[in-house]
Every structure is written in C-alpha cells, then in structure tokens.
C-alpha cells in the first residue's frame, strides 16, 4: 500500500499535466487553432533563447516560495490561504529596508531578505496564534489578512515611503539581488540571484520536515492532535510555528519581487496572485518540497511561454490559464485517475 501510494503521488501529477496539455490541444483544435503551432510557440516563449530562459527562471522563483508556504502549512494540517498577503508584506518590508538603510551589501542584502521573511512570518503568526489559542479557523483569518496586507501596504507606499507616488524609488544597489552577470548572460532579462534562495528554501523545507524533530512534531500535529498531545507535544506551539515558517517562505517570495525583479514596490490595485498560484503549485507538487520546485517550474514555463502564443501562433494567452486550470482540476480529481489506474492494473493481470 505504501509503495503504491508513493508511486501514485508521483504518477498523478504527471498524468494530470499530460491530460491538461492534451485537453488544451483539443480546445485549440476546436477553436480553429493549430495546437502544434500553439505549443511550439509556448515552448519558444519559455525556452526560445537566453532571454526567455532568464525570464522563465525569474517567474518561477517566487512561485517556488509561495508553493512552499502553502505546502509547509499543509504538512501540519493547516490551510494557508494567506500566502498572498504574506507576499505583499514581505515585499514591502524588504523594499523598505532596501530604501531606508545604508550599509555594505554583505549586511544590507541579507538584512533586507530577512526583513521580508520576518514580515511574512508575522503575517503567518497572527492566524497561527488565533487558531492555536481561540480555535478560529485559519482559512478565514488568512483570507482577511490578505486584504489587510494589501490595503496597509498601499497606504504605507502612498503616505510613508513616498509622497503620494504610485511607486517607491529604486532600492539601494547594496540591497539588490539583481546580477549584471546573469543579466548579461540572458540579454538583459530580469533574472536575479533569488532563484538560489528559492532552491535553498526548498532544501530547508525538506530538511526540516524529514530530518528534524521540528518536522516530526509538525507532521504529527497535522495527522493526529490527540496523539500529539498524549506524546507531550505542545500542539498550540506547533500550529504557530508552522504558520510562522510558512509565512516566512511567502515573505521571501515578496522579497524576491522587491529586491530582484522590480527593485521597488508599487501601489497594487489587486492581489499579485503569487500567493494564490502557490496553492495550485503546492497541490500539484503534492506538498513535497521538490515536487513544489518542479510544479513551480512548470507554472513558470506555462505562464512565461504564454506570452509568445498570440504573436507566434495567434492563440490567445488565456488558453494557458485554461490549461493550468485543467491541470489543477485533474490533480484535484486524482481519485478518478487512481481508480482508472487500479482498474487498468486489474485488467492487465
């Protein structure tokens, strides 16, 4: 049963992706586009040249981190719908430190990154605390925290960081993740060192969950709170820790945007969607650190490649949103795939 489960955990996302792409092809056919042209445009858009590869990596970076933010909380049985807000406050805090402090890079950059993580962690702490102490459902609180983050951050940008401007100044170069060397390699794409941080964060998550007593406790609490209490674990503490670390990951995603991609923060008319995409990434990645990296890469590729589809093949970019939605649909309905596979195996015997 266990080996089967592990296999399913691997096969189901792969099959879902395949089915999603297949369905996308059918939709293209039905609406009079050539799917082969469509997909080759997508491929070119994501991997066509050094520039697009750089942009694909840049797009993937925050998705890895928000994916981790959702997956990590989920491992202790919590639904972190708040990655979105955690991204925004992380972004804000990182940029703030990037603007306000003067220091050599070796201090300034880590400080700014850390500020992003801490702000996200704080945004995770509040729902964690309310859940642990008062039993308020984290989904409701995290959704509300998203709006609080959005409006507070806009207000701070308007009234504190600038004088009613729509965006802040560029951060000091000592706090920037941008790399001339990497940009040079990629025809001046916006790629930055953040992807190393994202990969490192995934390794940290894997290590925490699989190799440490912290992960052992977090997972135990996720599986069975009664047994966790019986065994002497502090259930409340674990819920809070889980949300803080999850928030920290999402905060880092914000810092990537603030210190890497944009180098500033602008007024937001709506959510960045990085956090919400993180939910899909975590789901597709089966809440596993390396699964999340792969799923984020897939999303990065699809979203980046989509840009080439209208010009390259006349296919509207919305098609990619449909494909992504279908992939998620297939993962979520993995029960059907599981059933079909079992059926298949039986018949093959």
């Amino acid at each position: 049963m266990t080996s089967n489960n592990k296999l399913f955990a691997l096969i189901i996302p792969v099959i879902s992706v395949f089915l999603g792409l297949l369905a996308g092809a059918i939709i293209m056919l039905l609406s009079g586009y050539n799917p082969i042209e469509g997909y080759s445009a997508l491929w070119r858009g994501a991997f066509g040249d050094a520039f697009t590869i750089g942009e694909t990596i840049r797009r993937t970076t925050p998705l890895i981190l928000t994916g981790l933010a959702v997956a990590f909380a989920f491992r202790s049985g919590l639904f972190n719908i708040g990655a979105e807000g955690q991204v925004i406050v992380g972004w804000l805090a990182a940029v703030w430190v990037g603007l306000a402090i003067e220091a050599p890079m070796i201090i300034h950059l880590p400080l700014a990154v850390l500020a992003g993580a801490l702000a996200g962690g704080l945004w995770g702490f509040v729902p964690g605390l309310l859940k642990a102490k008062l039993g308020v459902h984290e989904v409701i609180i995290t959704i509300m925290m998203n709006y609080i983050a959005l409006y507070i951050s806009n207000e701070i940008i308007r009234s504190v960081l600038t004088d009613h401007a729509t965006k802040t100044d560029q951060i000091a170069s000592s706090a920037s993740l941008a790399s001339e060397w990497l940009q040079g390699l990629t025809y001046y794409s916006r790629i930055h060192y953040g992807f190393l941080i994202a990969i490192f964060a995934a390794v940290i998550m894997w290590f925490l969950i699989q190799r440490t007593t912290i992960g052992y406790e977090l997972k135990a609490v996720g599986f069975n709170q009664h047994a966790s209490k019986y065994s002497g674990m502090n259930v409340s503490k674990n819920i809070i820790i889980s949300m803080v670390i999850a928030g920290g990951f999402a905060g880092l995603a914000g810092a990537m945007e603030g210190l890497g991609t944009y180098g500033n923060i602008h007024l937001m008319s709506g959510f960045t969607n990085l956090g919400f995409d993180g939910i899909a990434v975590a789901l597709l990645g089966a809440n596993n650190a390396f699964g999340v990296v792969l799923a984020a890469l897939l999303f990065g590729v699809l979203k980046e490649g989509a840009g080439e589809m209208p010009t390259g093949a006349g296919v509207p970019t919305e098609l990619v949103d449909i494909i992504i939605a279908l992939i998620i649909f297939f993962v979520a309905s993995s029960y059907i795939i599981r059933w079909a596979l079992l059926r298949f195996k039986k018949e093959g015997k």
Partner: protein
C-alpha cells in the same frame, strides 16, 4: 448440505505479506460461525474480502451455491451480506433513523424523505430482534453498545441475511456482551446466519455452532464447538499450549509511587466525574481498578497523565507534585501510559511503526541530537521491539494504519513497557488481543512489577482484574469505594461492589 456462503481458496496479498493464503470457510444457514485466529492472522482481511472492500488475488466466493464477484460493499448488500465493523461508521449528530436510511432513503410521493415510515420500520425491526433502540435518539447521545445495535439494525434494514461481526464484544461491557449474545440468538431464530470474529474463547463456547481457525494467514480447519473446549481452541489457534493461569509470586509492595489525594476532575461536558478520589499505588504492586465504564476511570487517568486539568486535589509521583503538569513533564517524571483509545491517543496512524515507537522519546538521544533525527537509531530500536514483543508487521517502515488491530496494540505496549517507567498505567491493555498475546502482556506487566515498578491497571474485564492485580480498587461514581485482595473476592462480589452496593466485606483489606 446447503451453505449460504462459501469462500474457497481465498488468497489476498499485501505488500510484503500474504494475509490470506488459500483459506476456506463455509457458512451454514442458521448457524453462528466463529472465525478465530491470532492478531494479524487475517480475519478482518478475509471478511473485508467477503464484504467487497478488498479484491482477492485468487479464490471463489459462492452465495447460496452461486459463484459471485463482490467488487464493492453495495454488491455485498444486494447479496444480503451485512457487516458490523469494529469501528462504527455513524454520523454523530444524526438520529438513529437518519443514520440507518442514509444512502437508502424511502421517499414520499412528492419526493421528500419519508422519515415517519422509516422510523416505524426501524421500530418494528428493533422490537422483532429485541434491540431496544430508540429510532429518534441522536447517535452522540447513546452508549457504545447502543451504537453497535444501530449498526446491526442498519444491516437488517438493508435486508441482510448474513451478518458479519468483527470483534463486536471488544468495546462492550460484560452486561452489554450478554445482551449481544441474546440478540445474536434471536437473529438466528429468524433465519439469519452469522460470522463472528472474537478473541474471547468463552464467547465462542457459549454461542457458536462451529469455529474456523486460521493461523498466520493459513486455514487450520473447522471444528464443531460441541466437541471441543477452550484449551483445544487456543492451541489450534496459537499452535502451542496456552496457559490461562497467570503465574506470579506474591507481591512485595515497597514505597508509595503514586498517591492521589482528594482528586476532583470534571469530564468533557464539565460534569464532576472524579469526586474526591484517594488512591495509592506502591512500587512492586499491581493495583487493578474495577468499575463499570463511565464511573470516572477515563478522567482519572487523564488527570494523572496531564491530558485533563484537575479541579482540586493532589497527585504525587515519588513524592513529587505532578498535579496539572503537562503530559511531557508527567512522562519525563516517570509515567508510562497505555491509552484506552489506541487510535485516538496511542498512535499516529499515518506514521510508520518506527516513528510511533519513539513518540515520546524522539527529542532525546540517541533518537535525535540538536533536533536532527537519527533514523538509523529510531528504526534499530523499532526492529528490536518488534522482535521482542512479536509485533507482526511487514517491517518497521510500514505505516501503523496497515497493522492489524491487535498488532497496533502490541506496538503501543512495546513502546510504553520498554521505557520501564516508575508508574505504568495500563488502560484496557489487552482489548482486542488474542489469548497468546494476552498471556504475554500479562507476563510483561508482572515483570515490571517484579522489577519494582508500580502498575495501575484499568480494565472492564473482571477476569483480567482478578488474575493480574495484587490489589483491587473498586471505582464507583467517581470514588474508590472499596479495596479488596483478589484472593478474598470473586466476580459476583466485585460485580455488586461495582454497582455501588455497600457489602460488609468491603474495605476489609487495606
């Protein structure tokens, strides 16, 4: 001879284990057929095959002579097969009637659910078989025994001719067991046939007509209960002689290890359930708490182990105050606890056996150092205990969920006994265990005692209390009402004391 059910040469494999290896069982119409075997022998698996939950790799199932394929429980239902699982599958906030008709609702002409009609039918069924169930009661308000009858009614409502009971008596009080036996007899009278899984040989002798024995996945044979006895059944099942007497030397109690003074505890519904209770357990003795379920035993244990707060009073361990300390503190000061509800408290079912073995010690050396887990040490320990306590599992890496009920229990016991705590609290430690395993567990408890540890045993089985304890404390209505020596008393007297009657003999020994 007509058989209602025949399972022929059934084989069912799980990764790393053959749970059923060419097993045969034939059920005659109108008989109660026992299915007996050690923990992990494959009884539940075999019945799950019959009920359509598992598909066998090989073998044939015949219902009234016709070969059938049962690929899901609905088909089993249609064939007149019903199963009463050990863990009930009921919706707590729903009424008895709502639970029974779920998925099978009778409709009025306008398409609404006809609750009235259903209630009437259920009342009739209940009366006919003497089940005494109130169709309009909510599940969460009725006792475990009643819930089981609801499960029985559910199968009858769906027209079951054959009823499978998987360890129905493990969760019942002695009184409820007697009633269940009556119910089974009346089912037979109405032409039903029954397969009964139980580890209690006395029950088999009492109600069953025939008994099929399986050992380690293999069928050993079927015997007529008339021509056999408890000893033969036990040795058929285990493959060796089993002694039912628990051998032990007289206890040599030393210092007081646990002392509970004037303890008051409220239960989950904030009702006083432990009321100024006093209790002492000494090193080198086993104190058995006898009492009918619901007289505050659970709350007493939870208060001692730190799972529930006590209102007032004092709990001392080795002269140190542990009142209202956290479970971790209590564990560290030397308390081991075999919990009554193994799925709720005892195990993280999704963790492997190995991970469960270190549930209280994972943060200590050698299982971890500076918060880094040492999997090698963890699994080495697990393998050692699996071997020593004969936990039947494909490996230490198997999730606890995949173990048979009895083997889950053995894994918990292994973990708690191995830590060799100064005070070992064993709540229903042998519930769901086979006779061989019970013998083994009792031996372990006595060994702990002989090592100079204090053991507090809570059990609803008077046999167990009488056999194992050195001193019996009778609990009634939240208090210890008397304290007797097992050699000075018997089941009848204990029964009376547990029901709250004050006999003159009560409290004559210390």
């Amino acid at each position: 001879m007509d058989y209602v059910i025949e399972m022929l040469n059934i084989r069912k494999e799980f990764p790393g284990i053959v749970a059923n290896d060419n097993i045969n069982i034939q059920l005659k119409k109108g008989e109660i057929h026992a299915l007996l075997g050690e923990n992990g022998a494959g009884k539940s698996t075999l019945m799950n095959v019959l009920f359509g939950l598992y598909q066998p790799e090989k073998g044939q199932i015949r219902v009234k002579g016709e070969t059938v394929k049962i690929t899901n429980p609905n088909i089993a239902n249609d064939l007149g097969i019903g199963m009463v699982h050990q863990h009930f599958m009921l919706v707590e906030p729903f009424t008895v009637t709502q639970n029974i008709i779920l998925g099978n609702e009778p409709k009025t002409k306008t398409g609404r659910i006809n609750i009235k009609k259903a209630e009437q039918e259920i009342q009739e069924l209940s009366d006919r078989y003497g089940l005494k169930v109130d169709p309009s009661a909510k599940i969460k308000d009725i006792s475990v025994g009643m819930q089981q009858r609801v499960e029985i009614l559910k199968t009858l409502y769906r027209g079951a001719e054959v009823l499978i009971f998987d360890e129905p008596t493990a969760v019942l009080t002695p009184q409820e067991i007697t009633e269940l036996m009556e119910i089974m007899r009346s089912l037979i009278k109405e032409g039903k046939s029954i397969i009964l899984i139980t580890h209690k040989l006395k029950e088999i002798m009492e109600v069953c007509d025939r008994c099929t024995v399986i050992r380690k996945g293999k069928g050993i044979g079927t015997v007529d209960v008339k021509n056999t006895n408890v000893n033969e059944l036990a040795s058929l099942m285990v493959g060796r002689e089993v002694s039912f007497e628990t051998e032990k030397k007289p206890a040599q109690p030393k210092d007081v290890v646990l002392s509970v003074k004037d303890l008051k505890v409220k239960d989950a519904r904030k009702v006083d359930s432990v009321k100024e209770l006093n209790l002492e357990v000494r090193a080198g003795e086993i104190v058995g708490i006898a009492g009918i379920d619901g007289n505050g035993q659970t709350e007493l244990i939870e208060a001692i182990t730190g799972l529930t707060k006590s209102q007032s009073g004092k709990i001392m361990l080795n002269n140190k105050d542990i009142t209202n300390k956290t479970p971790r503190k209590v564990t560290e000061s030397g308390v081991g606890h075999i919990p009554q509800d193994r799925h709720k408290y005892g195990l993280v079912l999704d963790y492997t056996v190995g991970e469960n073995i270190v549930l209280q010690t994972y943060y200590q050396k050698p299982y971890s150092k500076n918060t880094i887990l040492n999997h090698k040490e963890i699994y080495q320990k697990a393998e050692e205990l699996i071997e020593q306590f004969d936990v039947r599992t494909p490996s230490a890496y198997t999730p606890a969920r995949a173990l048979s009920g009895g083997n889950q229990q053995k894994a918990i016991i292994a973990r708690e006994v191995d830590r060799s705590p100064d005070l070992l609290i064993a709540a229903q430690p042998t519930r769901g265990l086979d006779v061989g395993a019970i013998e083994f567990i009792h031996k372990k408890l006595i060994e702990e005692r002989d090592k100079g540890k204090a053991v507090l045993l809570i059990s609803f089985e008077l046999d167990e209390i009488l056999d194992v304890s050195d001193r019996i404390a009778v609990m009634f209505d939240g208090k210890i009402v008397s304290s007797v020596k097992p050699e000075d008393t018997n089941e009848q007297e204990l029964g009376l004391l547990m029901a709250g009657s004050q006999t003159t003999k009560a409290g004559d020994s210390k």
